[in-house]
């Protein structure tokens, strides 16, 4: 933990930083399009609900390219961007490229299947666009493509031959893909904030408050249950408490570093985090839609506080956004897309940001009180090293787009022209890649490993008794009554 590092260490060698570089690269392409009118983003493939499969995808700016050319160009550019990152991170680029290609094209298939109108079209779609959707019924499952990708990924990761699934995991990087998507999501919030600055700022502030309270309550209660009820050692209890209270895998690793736990501890806990997060991803959006569709922002924020990986949180937020909007659309209420997702991301972003400070606090507590190493100094730079860097990309993208719009440097229509393909088509495709990848890397056999039974019991108990109830309460306390803007 205390080795000498420069402030810029890892800028070219970590997933976190490469999410920033790739995300901001696409944001800059969007700004170029907005400022000059050059079609630098309109080529990105966009998937749509379909009855006729030839209309299932096209270029974001329809007239620019044929659908096939758009899809191939998207594959080429995304492959180039991620392979560049893979090379700098010293991964095996050849293996990554082949595995990425498999994941990319499988994701395309899952996306197309999930967008079939019989599955995805809402009753409103059928009523408003009878020519486009000449069908008598649909399941109205707007976000079904995410679930299809997830289950297909789970099938690959658990039931295909070991050699194949091990190979595909070379490019199954859910945390990386979702961080790229979240940086791009910043532009969406920027565009929305131009039209509703006050609401975006309220969401930001309320999310921060909820997170601070959650940090201080979740961790000690989770730690106490681990120690008193499940008799875990301090080392296991601290890492598990951080993982379940804060931000999953990265919190477990940061805490492991802070308290100098053995490497096996955060690794074993991380496998639990992923499995439980996927379970939450499958269950919570449906439950929240059923019981809390009248408090959409509360429901979204509660996901940020209770789902412990960035990928699963954003993914469940996206499903919740689709499900709740589809449900209330039947009642004649049309909420703007993306605000429920934004509330889920916002609380998670704050949680991610504070992990650096929390790891620093834990390091100090462990050195000074638990392990009693008086005189040892924990450098403040630890806060920076623990800070999730993709969050910087998210805020840069957000404030850049919002600032250019609010200062009237670029007209809103131009910003929308350049940014829509980034915050819409590209972001959603990276979400889809995340779902496929989460499924592939989630190995349910991990739960059966020796020693994980007690940890799993502790994790599940704390999740049900502490994290979800308190998370729901905090989300309600700090967000109740907040409603997304409506659209005509």
């Amino acid at each position: 933990m205390l080795e000498q590092r420069r402030w810029y260490s890892g800028m070219l060698s970590t997933e976190d930083w490469w999410a920033v570089w790739i995300g901001l690269f696409f944001v800059l392409l969007g700004l170029l399009a907005a400022a000059s009118g050059v079609e630098s983003t309109g080529w990105i493939v966009k998937f749509s609900k379909w009855v006729d499969i030839t209309k299932s995808f096209r270029a974001s700016h329809k007239a620019l390219l044929s659908p096939a050319a758009s899809l191939i160009l998207t594959y080429v550019v995304f492959t180039g961007a991620t392979c560049t990152g893979a090379k700098f991170m010293k991964w095996n680029v050849k293996k990554y490229f082949i595995a990425w290609t498999i994941i990319f094209w499988l994701t395309v298939v899952f996306y197309i299947v999930g967008q079939n109108a019989y599955i995805a079209a809402t009753s409103l779609d059928l009523k408003k666009h009878p020519d486009k959707y000449p069908i008598a019924w649909s399941l109205s499952l707007g976000g079904a493509y995410y679930i299809i990708a997830l289950f297909a990924g789970l099938f690959i990761g658990n039931l295909t031959p070991k050699r194949f699934r091990t190979f595909v995991k070379e490019a199954a990087k859910p945390e990386w893909f979702i961080k790229v998507a979240i940086v791009c999501l910043g532009t969406k919030l920027g565009l929305k904030a131009i039209e509703a600055t006050g609401f975006a700022m309220h969401l930001l502030f309320a999310g921060c408050c909820a997170t601070i309270a959650a940090y201080l309550l979740f961790w000690p209660l989770a730690y106490t249950i681990c120690r008193k009820v499940f008799k875990l050692t301090k080392e296991w209890a601290a890492c598990l408490a951080s993982a379940i209270s804060i931000c999953g895998v990265s919190a477990a690793i940061a805490t492991g570093g802070a308290i100098r736990a053995r490497p096996v501890v955060p690794i074993m806990i991380s496998s639990l985090v992923v499995v439980f997060a996927v379970s939450e991803l499958i269950i919570l959006p449906g439950v929240l839609t059923h019981y809390w569709s009248h408090e959409p922002i509360v429901a979204g924020a509660s996901l940020g506080l209770t789902v412990k990986t960035d990928g699963a949180d954003a993914a469940s937020g996206a499903i919740l956004d689709e499900l709740i909007r589809a449900k209330v659309a039947g009642e004649g209420i049309h909420w703007d897309e993306g605000w429920i997702l934004a509330s889920a991301i916002m609380t998670k972003i704050w949680i991610d940001m504070f992990i650096g400070i929390w790891a620093f606090v834990l390091a100090v507590v462990w050195v000074w009180y638990i392990e009693r190493r008086p005189g040892e100094v924990v450098p403040k730079s630890e806060i920076w090293f623990r800070f999730p860097k993709f969050v910087l990309g998210y805020f840069i993208a957000w404030f850049l787009v919002m600032g250019l719009g609010l200062a009237h440097i670029l007209p809103f229509a131009d910003l929308e022209f350049g940014m829509k393909p980034i915050e819409g088509s590209l972001r959603k495709f990276f979400f889809m890649l995340t779902f496929t990848s989460i499924g592939i890397v989630t190995d349910f056999r991990e739960l059966a490993k020796e020693g994980l039974g007690r940890l799993a019991a502790a994790y599940g108990t704390i999740l049900l008794v502490i994290i979800i109830p308190i998370g729901l309460f905090l989300a309600w306390l700090f967000h109740h009554g907040m409603m997304p803007p409506t659209v005509p």
Binding site: H202, F205, A206, C209, I212, A213, Y215, L216, L217, W219, P220, L221, Y223, T224, R227, K228, K231, L232, T233, K234, W236, R262, P263, V264, M268, V365, Y369, I370, E450, G451, L452, R454, L455, L474, L477, F478, H479, H480, G481, M482
Partner: protein
């Protein structure tokens, strides 16, 4: 490399609960409750009450 038994989440002998753990846990919970009340008040006054 770690031995299999080292990967067990509990040690051979149970680690006793230390008084300092009580102080840290209770301190954090109290800080959490106080923060909760103060921030909830602030959010209600400046955001939700508007």
């Amino acid at each position: 490399m770690k031995d299999a038994h080292e990967a067990e989440p509990t040690g051979e002998a149970e680690e006793p609960w230390l008084p300092i753990e009580t102080k840290l846990v209770v301190g954090s919970v109290i800080a959490g409750v106080v923060t909760l009340i103060v921030l909830a008040f602030v959010v209600h006054i400046f955001i939700l009450g508007k």
